[in-house]
């Protein structure tokens, strides 16, 4: 069996994995990136729309362009990228090194040994089954991302007239993609009283095409003996029901971080994010095991995922050199107005960047950080919405045991 050794192994060659690899390789480490697909970029390859890269590259790019740029960064830093290889299992040896079992059509089964590993495995889409939509099991029901893959990576159309369930960004982007490909979009149906996607996508993907956005409505039933023929929609306020004729239903109803490998290793998970619990260097509760990108928590922008991953890659490189990182002794918690704060632990006496997902919507809110009851940082946040992540940098004083974040609405 083939054996390969490296300092840092990165699992997943998407926007996060490539960034982590570039950072670890730039620190002089021997880095190997593994991806099961035949090309780099992960989901970026099918995201042919623009809107990527403004924060990371200071330039507006499409997904494939962002992927090519990030791949170049990783390769130029010296990372080796192995494509078409699937990681089946990862285990930890008694000397703390990590061993991944890979398999591929080309090389069969092989082993990759690493001192540190970064898991950047992305996320999956929630499906019709996850939100339990009753009705017929007709053809023509897709997740928005699988329809996007069909259109953008195989050049096929999913149908002729679609209803989109859920107003997440992928659903909104697909509404425009459908219209630009000659597919009618009857409506976008959102169960919540407010849209889940970015305001710019409501403007440029729905309003530009006069596509109705039905808030506080749900998809109650899918009908069609072989192919979808119609969907029944319920107005959650009036309880009124009506149908839309369509041959296609796209579900854009949220994302689930993909962490089967980490779970199988017994890594402590965070129920609020669906990802692992991590410290400020993106290290999981198992030393030498790091996570970044959408498998850690679902990001709004790939730019944020890449920025976070850069930190994970640099920390993995440091761990590979020294075998340990500064002890993250300060516990992080947050108010109920925040769904979560990432990381879960941080190192007292150092600076740390935090990510938050609010649970509330308001025009203005104050975000405050305190260390053992003493305020250490604050900022005003404008147009706070669950659809948009918040960030904050804070200096954590030496000796801090507890860091708490509070988000308060300003009237």
């Amino acid at each position: 069996m083939k054996q390969l050794n490296c300092d840092v192994a990165v699992i997943g060659a998407g926007g996060a994995g490539l960034s982590a690899a570039a950072a670890a390789a730039a620190a002089g480490k021997n880095v190997v990136v593994i991806d099961r697909e035949e090309s780099c970029g992960g989901v970026l390859c099918q995201c042919i729309h623009n809107g990527f890269g403004l924060r990371y590259f200071n330039e507006e790019l499409t997904g494939p362009e962002y992927a090519l740029r990030m791949e170049r960064c990783a390769r130029e830093s010296g990372a080796r990228i192995m494509l078409g290889e699937t990681v089946g299992a990862v285990r930890r040896h008694s000397d703390n090194t990590l061993e991944a079992t890979l398999f591929s059509a080309a090389n069969g089964v092989s082993k990759l040994n690493a001192k540190a590993m970064v898991f950047a495995t992305g996320c999956r889409e929630r499906t019709r089954a996850n939100i339990a939509v009753p009705g017929d099991r007709s053809a023509g029901v897709y997740t928005a991302g699988s329809a996007q893959k069909l259109m953008n990576l195989t050049g096929m159309l999913p149908g002729r007239r679609a209803v989109i369930v859920g107003s997440g960004d992928i659903g909104l982007i697909m509404a425009r993609r459908c219209r630009w490909s000659g597919i009618e979009v009857a409506a976008v149906v959102e169960i919540l009283p407010e849209p889940s996607g970015l305001p710019r996508n409501i403007a440029q993907c729905l309003r530009d095409f006069d596509i109705p956005l039905l808030l506080s409505h749900r998809c109650a039933r899918i009908m069609g003996r072989n192919r979808v023929e119609a969907v029944e929609i319920e107005n959650l306020i009036t309880k009124e029901r009506f149908t839309f004729q369509c041959d296609t239903v796209l579900f854009s109803v949220g994302l689930i971080p993909e962490n089967e490998l980490l779970k199988s290793m017994g890594v402590e998970m965070n129920p609020a994010t669906g990802g692992p619990c991590v410290d400020g260097s993106c290290q999981c509760a198992l030393p030498g095991v790091f996570a970044a990108g959408n498998s850690l928590h679902v990001h709004d922008l790939v730019d944020f995922a890449s920025i976070e991953a850069r930190r994970a890659g640099a920390a993995a490189a440091e761990y590979a050199s020294s075998g340990k990182l500064p002890s993250a002794d300060a516990e992080v918690s947050c108010s109920k107005t925040l769904k979560y704060a990432i990381p879960n632990k941080c190192v007292p006496g150092s600076a740390c960047e935090f990510f938050f997902r609010p649970t509330v919507s308001c025009a203005r809110a104050k975000l405050t950080a305190s260390a053992d009851g003493q305020e250490i940082a604050k900022k005003m946040c404008l147009s706070v919405r669950p659809a948009e992540m918040l960030t904050m940098k804070a200096e954590i004083p030496a000796g801090t045991a507890k860091v708490e974040f509070l988000l308060e609405e300003c009237k």
Binding site: I48, H49, T62, W180, R200, Q204, L301
Partner: protein, 113 residues
Amino acid sequence: MKKMICITCPTGCEMEVLCDGDKITVSGNRCPRGAAYAESEIKDPRRTVTAVVHSGSGKFQSVRTDKPLPRPLIPGLLNKILKENYPEAEPGAVIIADIEGTGVNLIATGPAR
């Protein structure tokens, strides 16, 4: 007064645009790109178009306009690329130059698949 969401970046500023003859006053934008977008949206609305083009030999690749294209020209461009085939090109290469004399080019963004 017109309410408008800036589509220039993911921040999506909610702007109020006041048109008084030729004079356009914008508020709510957090950067100068918002004011520029609002003015263009009133006088000459434009969008960056992204799509895939087929090579005719079973392959296709992703493309975008290198600058925003006037909205009235978008259906024509989309119809044209739906009907015609375009040879495979390297990412960044021009697929259609100077669309309808606008100076906007259609360029390849990804490899042919």
